[in-house]
Symmetry: C2
Subunit: 516 residues, 2 copies
């Protein structure tokens, strides 16, 4: 571990501002001093990326696929060291870190396959018709990479949604060089992962500049990257405040660029009243497990539960509370995140006519006390701030008078990544208006399950109406996320030999094409 | 013709501000007084659209397809009246108006077919695997309409890119209600077309609010529409200034929404030097025809021509000028557009070391004098404003010392809808760096042709890097333009009977689905 920036294939530490990462379990700083990137290094990284983008056009997709596969091999080989560092910088458990590494490797392999198959470029052909009046030209279209992409990693996913996480791998798959603004909370993990990526790039014959990893604790590094005219898109995972700030910045550029920010969500869960009675035990266990997983530090954490007040719902809330408070409190990612959790929660618990149940007794340093709060539907509707996310093991139960009141509450809710509906099919059929409403509000509807545990597969949609994400039309998880970093280009009457292989008449790559 | 707004199915004229359209051929105002929509009418149109969006979810795609087909039938039946009005409000020729009507009908039919086939929703299925640890859920995904869409029509396409033009028909096809901010220069044509749309909506059993047509000459109508929280996307065709203003406005909303603005472009044409000699006659005719078509009032008008200085290029410029100035001057769309053309051109012609050739003698009122200006590559590079579009029959020839100087000029060029390369294949093969560079700059590369005459087909891409459009990832022409107005939604472990038909296990609609 050097603490240096990776500017293309070179290590660089021209700056004087340094910072350390923090071990929230030991409550102490880790040793390495990370040197924040300076303007000159940022310029160099972007210039290299821009050159690499041009060079990539002449490199076959098979080599790019092999590059992604090689990254996975390198990560695998260095897993022990990376996980050890990851734990020291996040307080996450080894089991959780292993699962996250597995997901990271799976994403690399999935995208490598996608690039190899080469159908994602959506080749489309409409042949000429010289007999038509006026004569019809030959038109052929396919997707190309959008250009250099800047990626801001997530605090809560040091592996799967950071340095070589979902955004980076999707961009590389699309043929876009990536400049990572490394997350300062896990800069060491970021550096180790970056070494794996850069080694793989060299081994696979990728151009210098295809990947850079820049340290930055203050805003300047990210802002300079987003404003750089040669940067063409941004991926971000984090808070609404952070994502919106980058979105606003990018839209103020002379040439605005897309910012794909996956931001906050409270992921409402709706329990259908008649179904509840038979499922109190199952659903209370499921919910308590979901909201306490990784100390509630998931973007899909269920932060809002709607039920209709009844004896069954009273029993359910009691059981849920008991099961939740019975669990060990867990360490949060960082003292700052822990402090923010406590501050937001304290404010929330002061709302009038709100009941709450909080984990009591001694807990570890930087640990989050899991908490359930309960309000009526009326109070919820009177306090719009109650829908705001509290990042950590907190959930608000809204007890309504009726399904109609639940729907009234949901109507005013902001956009969400997910909503979950718990109930039997017959009862769901009685509430089709609920399902219709949810389609306007969320990117994914979960039936009789919880929102955590985001499956990585082509049919996943991870994104939703603002503020769940800045662009509801794109997913941040699964191979379709490549579409964020690609744009179409059409060739009109292009001589066959000058066409990209994907569009040549003989279909030399033997791929699926839309032909008109 | 009433001059009233269509607020859903109702005529409404609550306001007091009125305006008239103008006949640029007669140089006189047309009779009808159009009443600008007021705040109350805008609110009502959006509220109706929002309700219609919900109702549309319960209406089959076949009925929606029939609606689009019925609009085409209605337009056909009322063609004579619509074209007469169109000519009175635009100064376009009858031939041109007929071609545009044909394109409008073709677009309606294409989208009707697309909706009928129902594959555009990109249904995707990943089935459950209960044996995997952890068990894999069932996930199914498809595209749904994004919500009510506001459309700003184009001044230069009263039919094909206005009231029921490309943006409106794509949005309706996606299941999104449309509110048109009618273009004030052809408000009468807009009203007649709106009547056809609304009659079709009634005949096809579409909900009230699926379509509204609001008059607006001042900015307030459009601004209020774009800022309305229930509006979810915007389509715009027009100037960079106008498109950027709406884009900025939409991004300042609490919930930002996408603005698809198709804006300015100078559509560079590059002539390869060795090929020119044999093609002087053919290419000068083609270019003169292209830049004078519809008095140069096309977004694909070729406004910039690059050649390498030689005897051949001197002869080419002479021939081009002769052919162009020999043509009749044509009436422009409106005195304001005519005045703007003259003002911008006068400024441009004052650039030092610029030669120009302008149509001389008497021409009709509001007619644009076609003009060719010539500068060296050096002068072009010293004057960045020379690349700015002049809307009308104007083109700038840049005579460079070498292909390298052409490439240097192109490197600094803004994003464009198109670029054209004229040359023989052998010579193109010597300039692959040019073709690579153009891919970064444009949405469509035309080989041995001109950019005008945009074919409507699936492989067309009409859009390009900013400022050609605000989002280079989407086309404004062809059926893929539907993707602008749709977003994915995923269903996790959804009971089969509650799934949309497109995703049900038995594939009752018998459509193509991606299965994992």
């Amino acid at each position: 571990m050097t603490g240096k920036n990776s500017v293309g294939f070179n290590f660089s530490a021209l700056g004087t501002y340094t910072f350390q990462t923090f071990n929230p379990v030991d409550n102490s700083y880790n040793e390495t001093l990370f040197v924040e990137a300076v303007s000159e290094e940022i310029e160099e990284a972007v210039a290299l990326a821009s050159n690499a983008f041009e060079e990539l056009k002449g490199i076959s997709h098979l080599k790019r696929a092999a590059f992604l596969e090689q990254i996975a091999i390198n990560l695998n080989e260095n897993e022990a060291q990376i996980l050890a560092c990851n734990l020291n910088e996040s307080g996450l458990t080894l089991e959780r870190a292993r699962i996250e590494m597995k997901r990271t490797l799976f994403q690399l392999t999935s995208f490598s396959e996608l690039v190899k198959e080469n159908n994602w470029r959506e080749p489309s052909i409409d042949r000429a018709n010289p007999d038509r009046i006026p004569s019809k030209p030959d038109l052929r279209k396919l997707l190309v990479g959008i250009g250099p992409v800047v990626v801001f990693g997530a605090s809560n996913f040091p592996l799967a949604y950071s340095t070589i996480g979902g955004d980076s791998v999707a961009a590389l798959a699309a043929g876009c060089p990536v400049i990572v603004k490394s997350h300062p909370l896990h800069a060491g993990t970021g550096e180790l992962v970056a070494h794996c990526v850069i080694d793989a790039a060299k081994k696979s014959g990728m151009p210098n500049g295809i990947f850079s990893n820049l340290n930055g604790q203050r805003f300047e590094v990210g802002n300079q990257l987003v404003m750089h005219p040669l940067v063409k898109a941004v991926g971000f995972t984090g808070s609404i405040k952070g994502g919106r700030a980058l979105f606003d910045l990018a839209n103020q550029r002379p040439e605005p660029i897309p910012v794909f920010a996956e931001m906050g969500s409270v992921n409402p869960v709706i329990i259908l009243p008649n179904s509840l009675e038979k499922k109190i035990d199952e659903w209370s266990t499921m919910y308590a497990d979901s909201m306490s997983a990784s100390c509630g530090q998931f973007c899909t954490n269920p932060g809002l539960l709607f039920s209709v007040k009844s004896n069954a719902s009273d029993v359910f809330i009691k059981q849920l509370t008991k099961k939740l408070l019975h669990k060990e409190a867990q360490t949060m990612l960082h003292p700052s995140i822990h402090a923010s959790f406590n501050r937001l929660k304290a404010d929330r618990l002061e709302v009038e006519d709100l009941l709450y149940f909080e984990k009591e007794g001694e807990i570890g340093v930087n640990s989050g006390r899991q908490t359930i709060a309960v309000v009526s539907g009326k109070v919820f509707q009177e306090n719009p701030s109650l829908e705001e996310e509290i990042f950590g093991p907190f959930s608000l139960v809204v007890e309504c008078e009726s399904m109609n009141e639940i729907i009234a509450c949901l109507k005013n809710l902001n956009g969400q990544l997910t909503a979950s509906v718990l109930g039997e099919v017959d009862e769901m059929n009685e509430h089709l208006n609920l399902l219709k409403l949810l389609q306007n509000k969320v990117g994914r509807i979960v039936f009789n399950g919880v929102p955590t545990g985001v499956e990585v597969c082509p049919s996943m949609h991870h994104g939703g109406p603002y503020p769940a994400s800045t662009d509801s039309r794109f997913t941040a998880v699964g191979v379709d996320s490549i579409k964020r970093f690609a744009r179409p280009i059409a060739f009109q009457n292009c001589p066959n030999e000058l066409l990209p292989l994907e569009l040549q008449e003989s279909n030399p790559l033997n791929i699926n094409r839309r032909e008109g």
